[in-house]
Amino acid sequence: MSMPEKINILLADDERHIRVLIKRMIKKLDTEFIWEAKNGGEAVEFYKEFQPDLTLLDINMPIKTGIEALEEIREFDPKALVIILTSLANMEDIQRCAALGAAGYIRKDLDEEEMIEIIENSWNKWWGN
């Protein structure tokens, strides 16, 4: 399944400026809704309520870390497509997220095109294209 039109995205990062940046970076994707979560607790809550097509999840967040949120999201929905947001490519965290079924990871300092490419590739890999 290639990326459909009007996808819904859940964007979880505790820093507002990063949410503004990422939202702008992914503007080229055809999105219907972007829900913004300020911490891991909200991320899980919003996922359960809205079940977005794609979740972008920061690792270092209060209330629940991205890793804890990913565990709960995965338990709720084994098919959830989650991509991790990192500021430093910490291999230990990335491997842990991969083991928990994250589809990929995005470094926050990437360019627009690189970010979109990772999201599209992760989408295609996740849905077996």
Partner: protein, 381 residues
């Protein structure tokens, strides 16, 4: 293993011989050399004395009734507490076989009777010196091990700070870089609101980075022990009043009421600049975690030895678990500031160090849902 080495300390010798005359003669002569002498006439008594207090060297006769010198030596070498006491055999048994046995079971020297006193004294001195050096070596190795361990811990702490600082600098840098790129790419495609929002974020992020870099430099100066405290006689009451006034704008922005009970005078020596930093940190932290319209209580009390300053807020409180790591720097704690205020994560770590350098300390009292009280104590003299 000795905890300290005192070179001037008199070495303690234990003389063991069933011949009373030998004991007395050797005892008197060796005492004149500056040794502390204990003397016993049997092997059994020798073991008893050693079990109570360890001598620095034993001069041990071999031929004694009940328990001979070799047996005494074997007993002592079996016990890890007494194994390292040097033993010199002193005996009339002068055949090679006995001498070899004496060395095999752990003796450090073997003197045959009749002996010349000067020779005995010289050989004892040599063994006592060797023993002292060996203890010194052990002590130094132990100290080096401890120092090494400490350095490793410092190195780990430094690496942790470095990696967390890099992480915390990278996030605002990512937005500065990303948003400025978007602005450069096509400012005409953006609305005025978007341009304003992006520029505000760029400005805020760069300010946050500057604060972080400043705190990091401050932290590293304090951590390296190069805090140059300017200790002058100052009035803590006046300083608190002035810091409350200076931070008024922050309290007003959240409609926070400051209730102070700080007396009229509290004069003693402290570094005004550094203590201002401590007070500002506690006041602004309290404001960050306070809901609009709440109160912050500032109190100054004098105890017998300290001035105690407490800052209490009506915020969400801090869990016991978070309280343990709150002074470590770069901790991701719950909850977060009520109006999204920025923190560098180093403020309280710096505060703790400033207070320590004054000989003071910090305390937290807090319960989830019941606010927090941060108190600091400064010695009055």
């Amino acid at each position: 293993m000795p905890k300290t080495i005192k070179e001037e300390e008199r070495s303690r010798l234990l003389l063991v011989d069933d011949n009373q005359e030998n004991l007395e003669v050797l005892g008197i002569l060796l005492e004149k050399e500056g040794y502390d002498i204990s003397a016993v006439p049997s092997g059994e008594l020798a073991l008893e004395v050693v079990s109570r207090s360890k001598p620095d060297l034993i001069l041990l006769d071999v031929m004694m009734p009940h328990m001979d010198g070799f047996e005494v030596c074997e007993h002592l070498k079996k016990d890890h507490k007494t194994r390292d006491i040097p033993i010199i055999f002193i005996t009339a048994k002068n055949d090679a076989e006995d001498m070899i046995k004496g060395f095999e079971i752990g003796g450090v020297d073997y003197i045959t009777k009749p002996f010349q006193y000067e020779v005995v004294a010289a050989r004892i001195k040599t063994q006592v010196e060797i023993n002292k050096l060996s203890h010194l070596k052990e002590f130094m190795i132990n100290e080096l091990g401890k120092k090494n361990q400490h350095l490793l811990q410092l190195d780990q702490a430094k690496n942790k700070i470095l990696s967390m600082a890099a992480h915390d600098l990278r996030n605002p840098l990512a937005s500065i870089r990303g948003l400025s790129k978007i602005l450069l790419k096509g400012i005409n495609n953006l609305s005025t609101e978007e341009i304003n929002e992006f520029l505000t974020i760029i400005n805020d992020s760069s300010n946050h980075m500057l604060n972080l870099v400043n705190d990091l430099l401050d932290y590293s100066v304090i951590e390296s022990g190069h805090v140059d405290l300017r200790l002058n006689s100052n009035c803590l009451t006046k300083l608190i009043q002035s810091r409350i006034r200076i931070n008024e704008i922050i309290f007003e922005s959240k409609m926070i009421k400051i209730v102070s009970d700080i007396g009229t005078e509290c004069e003693f020596k402290f570094d005004k600049g550094r203590i201002s930093q401590v007070i500002d940190n506690l006041l602004t932290n309290a404001a960050k975690f306070s809901n609009p319209g709440s109160s912050i209580y500032v109190k100054l009390e004098k105890t017998e030895k300290h001035a105690k300053v407490s800052v209490r807020d009506e915020g969400p409180g801090i869990s016991k678990e978070d309280q343990k790591k709150i002074f470590d720097g770069f901790q991701m704690l719950n909850p977060r500031p009520t109006a999204g205020e920025k923190s560098t994560g180093l403020g309280l770590a710096i505060v703790k160090k400033i207070l320590q350098s004054h000989g003071g300390y910090m305390e937290i009292e807090s319960e989830l849902g019941a606010g927090s009280t941060f108190s600091f104590f400064l010695p009055l003299s």
